[in-house]
Symmetry: C2
Subunit: 374 residues, 2 copies
């Protein structure tokens, strides 16, 4: 318990004062589609609020499998509905690995729950860092080089929180080829696709599950549909992995909320529901890029999600936590220090560009003023 | 994973045919109060569906603490909201015990998740069996006698699934006194009060948390308010235990559903909401006792919950699983074999008396016919 340290993000938020500009958010500010809730309420009127089966309603599990269309993952037996993508990560790590033998390799910078879940389950982990020199572009080579004899799982995130980079298909293919060529038991790839629907290139992000059979895919409606509080997540994998995940899921919380599952079933039943917010994010992203250009702020152009990873100017780059603290205390803007996502991200800040454009503009202006100050 | 065996209850349900009488249910058939849902929906209209804090909304945590009124457990810091009472059990076991050293003592017959959660977390457990000779009346003596040098937690359930017995205050006091007198580190009592609001004596069940400081109390709105599918549970304990529970809860699923918490907040805000279904259960219980008397079926009169534990006649008592299978296959009534709840309950069947009275009457008549057959 003691090795699981409190979140730096939470520590910063505790210092936030009323009126501060919050670019530290990890959830949409858009509103969800009320029609989903009204339809779910109608089901409560008809059926009450009974338990679902442990793994979730078959209709929802089928819809999730169909939406993704992964080869060999087309049935309800390939899906466990979970309490958010967070529980899907937990189940994947807890049920597929042996703490006595297996090691996890985490691609960094990363969402900090990945190493913490390994610590919670007593599973060794190491990291493979992407390079700040090309804006943390996802690459297979450093991951393959970092594999150890005990590595049994690689954890990726695409689109990535915090870097907003997307793994290109060619790099996923190279990773799949490298892992397949490796002797010994197969290495799972646990890919967190919670930002899957929020992409800004011409094509949707490639999915590792299309390319590599030992893939476990995590997703949710939290970000695409502004439903973070509904905890509507899922794990997609081969049927034996899912059977074990459901066993543990049943023991740790019985099942996901029936109401949340009904909301999710409505979302999957409405064509375009999961993509409905993307144009709004794309518009906000254009504003962000224009603001960064205007203020001379160096950032990695977001390929997905709703974050931007910003390079601190040289005089601030040695301590991103100190920079974030000064930005908050002196300029009243919340941003998250890169070190919250691993040591490779020292010298960077993560901002969310989900707030209203006027708020974002004011926050960027203040950040530019801070960067220009001594 | 392999040591966690599939549920006997589920295996029986898989054999159920359409039209069979199901007395195996573990959830209410009453409908929840739609007003709770409509009020929660109004909050979604106003606020969307954002994350709650990891431990739950402070207003709800305060309301849960106030409702229970346990000494020294009066603040939000004493409560973690959980994904049903199941997650509260999981968090209590996972966060307070050391698998290398600690042992759990489970009072049997018991809800089968208790031993399974110990197996899942690699924590040794033993059982202390109550006696069938007095209908599994809860008693401190056999529990105190079964304590071992490594025992660090005792798990009780009051009102009890499957026996429908309630721990009398005098026995809880004797247990508290015995545990307090024991040398060495304190022994936690984890008491599952998920059926707390469903009691049929003149007084509410006594709570161990009123009598013993090292108590962790688990509860939920699932049974009292017919909200099983909402997964609205909680853990109540001292603040350091809750702080650790929230840390793990945050990692395994971030937080409980915001919508479910809003439904729960409405329930706690409406006087009498948690007790509203009790008179309906009390009426059904009277019908059950009359039916048992009419048919000469021997059962333990339920003191709480919505189960009845039925003694099999001598010619069937050697194998409750075989009896349950015959009852289902030959008489088309689902009941749960006692052995599903531990070896001490061999020779017994658990029925739920939540179905409509006519259904219950037909089920009891068929059971009597089965018991009378060779």
């Amino acid at each position: 318990m003691e090795r699981i340290t409190p979140s730096l993000i939470r520590a910063l938020h505790a210092r936030k004062r009323p009126g501060d500009i919050d670019l530290g958010l990890g959830e949409p500010v858009l509103r969800p589609d009320m029609g989903l809730f009204e339809a779910a309420l109608e089901r409560v009127r008809l059926h009450g609020a009974p338990y679902s089966p442990n793994g979730g309603f078959t209709e929802l599990r089928d819809a999730i499998a169909l939406h993704h269309g992964f080869p060999g993952r087309t049935a309800a037996a390939n899906v466990c509905t979970t309490v958010g993508s967070e529980e899907a990560l937990f189940l994947a790590i807890k049920t597929t690995l042996d703490p006595a033998r297996d090691e996890v390799l985490i691609v960094e910078p990363c969402y900090l729950a990945y190493p913490k879940l390994c610590i919670l389950e007593g599973i060794r982990h190491r990291t493979a860092a992407l390079s700040p020199d090309d804006g943390f572009a996802p690459r297979a080579a450093p991951v393959l080089e970092a594999l150890g004899p005990g590595t049994r799982m690689v954890i990726l995130n695409s689109p990535c929180n915090p870097t907003a980079r997307v793994w290109p298909e060619a790099e996923l293919r190279a990773l799949a080829a490298g892992l397949t060529a490796r002797p010994g038991p197969p290495v799972y790839v646990l890919i967190d696709e919670v930002y899957r629907e929020l992409y800004y290139g011409p094509e949707p992000p490639a999915s590792m599950a299309m390319l590599y059979p030992h893939t476990l895919t995590v997703g949710s409606l939290s970000k695409s549909n502004a439903l973070t509080g509904m905890r509507s997540g899922w794990l997609i994998a081969d049927a034996p992995v899912i059977a074990n995940a459901i066993k543990v899921h049943g023991l740790v919380n019985t099942a996901s909320s029936t109401f949340s599952q009904w909301v999710a079933m409505e979302a999957f039943a409405r064509p375009g529901s999961l993509a409905a917010h993307r144009p709004l994010y794309a518009e906000r992203r254009r504003a962000l890029l224009a603001l960064a250009e205007r203020h001379g702020i160096r950032l990695v152009p977001p390929e997905g999600a709703f974050y931007a990873f910003i390079r601190l100017p040289p005089h601030l780059a040695a301590d991103s936590m100190a920079a974030a603290e000064r930005l908050l205390d002196e300029h009243r803007v919340v941003a998250v220090p890169g070190t919250a996502f691993g040591p490779s991200a020292e010298g960077w800040l993560r901002i969310s560009w989900v707030p209203e454009e006027a708020t974002l503009a004011e926050g960027m202006a203040r950040m530019a003023a801070f960067f220009a100050s001594a």
